[in-house]
Assembly symmetry: C2
Homo-oligomer: 333 residues x 2
């Protein structure tokens, strides 16, 4: 049963206890002051820049109260914000949690949410440093992640040059198909299906992003959150270049029977499916041979190249080129 | 008329243009990379700690769409988050804006909101560095502020000691009375009444907080956001001390006739009114003589003292002591 009439302070204490966040000064750790004061204090490493990113995770927009297990909501709200740190090649340090909850959700739901959040926080070594809570009929979450990267080393969207090779990590469209399976299932989702798991428990490509930046292999990088067809144009616009993708090379979902069963085309899923949190990056041709076929079990696939001409084309299997039309997720469309 | 069917990217461009945020590397400024990439990059000053704080500002909970001018919503969402930086004695550097909006509000409302936000951003020298936007039926705002303070110099809540003198800045209850006037007024608020202005356009006490910390005058500090009766217990709990307030000394609203007209008791307003964003701080007795009566036009008033015994008392004008009962704003009550 949910515990009623909890005060804001008692909810904050529950969150602080769950995260085992420090309540005072702890020398040697980057979070010098955690939950419980007006603000958190963070000590940056010398010679490093601080990465700052924030992300909405809202009921009905980003997750469904009756479909998404609270544990997955906790995991995913942090994991997707961490994906932006991965896209810069950075290392996560700490995060702030802003949480608005109905009073009915301050008991068991909150406990399970904090469980998923804690697992992601430990796995990706990103510690809860503070936040804000309030009461609301709908569940609203906002996460701010603070990371670090060596000064002037961050991978930006704006560095792609003509002839660079465009790569993606993983397979595209899996999370979207997972969401479709979830939507049509009765009640809450099972964690057993790898597609729903990819949707519920995305893994930000932190190690890959750090490795690519450390080795100096990438000229530009971003994460794929809204779908390839929406995100490639963003990278190209920031770099003032175009791109030509080869459709046949785009790594798709490996279970065509499942996609078919749910009435989905594999290529449409790969082009327009959101929430994959894979990395999209560009590598100069002379460095491409240094790139392995996979990194820690995640495949790295060249899917096309950057062009001087600011045009976005997809080369069809029949050799014809078509314009790439953004069809990924846009909340204002 | 609101412009319809704007994409997320075009709204981001509008926000970026309004804030005149940098789109690339700008050496010498603490924000190395602003809006337009996966994350922002920030360069910390050597020998400093980074202050991190975030705040909800939600329609119906924190402001009313038909009562609060969009310009005031923009100003206040940033000003109240900056108040947490003031409470640490820090200097604001940059902020992230998470904004969820109905499509009908992406035109004129957004322009005016951004106008108020820009004015606060300039006045308090805190630059927009990034954020996240999405569509939503209700207006939801979350602000993360990043500030700086010299290492190990931040004023915490936990430093108050027995016999320290408890001070507040300004007058308490003004913002609450301003809100009551606003609620009963027809249509949107006028900016002419100083009470509604204090509610709509709070001024975070940044210069005061910085000065108190620089001069080494305070042992503990926090900002008054939920009301004196809720916030004194928080400071005392963090410091493991008690306090004895003198009711007669608490600086009240100076317009008793206005309070009376709206059926409010001045002392109730001063004790329990929220949203004042004044500073509450403790000063060792031997340093109290170094404190001026006012700082840049803001009065500084001793209202009581810290006690070893962990008890919160209010000394009535008749000499009797009563327990201080938290009656400030708590969203979960």
């Amino acid at each position: 049963m949910p515990r009623k009439h909890q005060s804001e302070d008692s909810i904050l204490r529950k969150i602080a206890t769950s995260s085992q966040s420090s309540q005072g000064q702890r020398p040697g750790h980057s979070v010098a002051l955690g939950i419980g004061d007006d603000a958190a204090l963070f000590r940056a490493k010398p010679g490093h820049e601080i990465i700052l990113t924030c992300d909405w995770f809202l009921e009905a927009t980003h997750f469904l109260r009756d479909k998404h297990p609270p544990d997955a909501v906790g995991w995913k709200c942090l994991a997707r914000a961490l994906s932006d740190v991965a896209a810069m090649g950075g290392t996560p340090r700490c995060f702030l949690l802003s949480l608005a909850l109905p009073e009915t959700h301050t008991g068991r739901w909150l406990d399970r949410f904090l469980g998923g959040l804690r697992r992601a926080s430990r796995k990706f070594q990103c510690r809860l440093a503070g936040g804000d809570t309030t009461r609301r009929d709908e569940i609203l979450i906002n996460i701010t992640v603070v990371g670090e990267v060596r000064a002037r080393r961050a991978a930006l969207r704006s560095g792609a040059r003509a002839d660079d090779i465009l790569y993606v990590s993983g397979r595209l469209g899996e999370a979207e198909l997972g969401l479709q399976i979830l939507r049509r299932s009765k009640g809450r989702a099972s964690n057993k299906n790898p597609l729903t798991r990819k949707h519920l428990y995305p893994e930000p490509r932190l190690a890959l992003g750090q490795w690519l930046v450390k080795k100096g292999l990438v000229t530009a990088m971003m994460d794929l959150s809204d779908g390839l067809s929406s995100d490639v144009p963003r990278l190209c616009a920031a770099s003032a270049v175009g791109a030509r993708l080869e459709k046949a090379k785009i790594p798709q979902v490996q279970t065509p029977d499942v996609a078919l069963k749910y009435g989905h085309d594999l290529m449409q899923l790969a082009l327009h499916g959101g929430d994959d949190y894979e990395l999209l990056f560009t590598v100069p041709p002379r460095k491409a041979k240094l790139l392995p076929k996979s990194f820690r079990g995640v495949r790295l696939t060249p899917i096309g190249k950057i062009t001087r001409k600011r045009e976005l084309l997809v080369l069809e299997e029949n050799g014809r080129a078509r314009h790439l039309i953004p069809g990924g997720w846009d909340p204002f469309r």
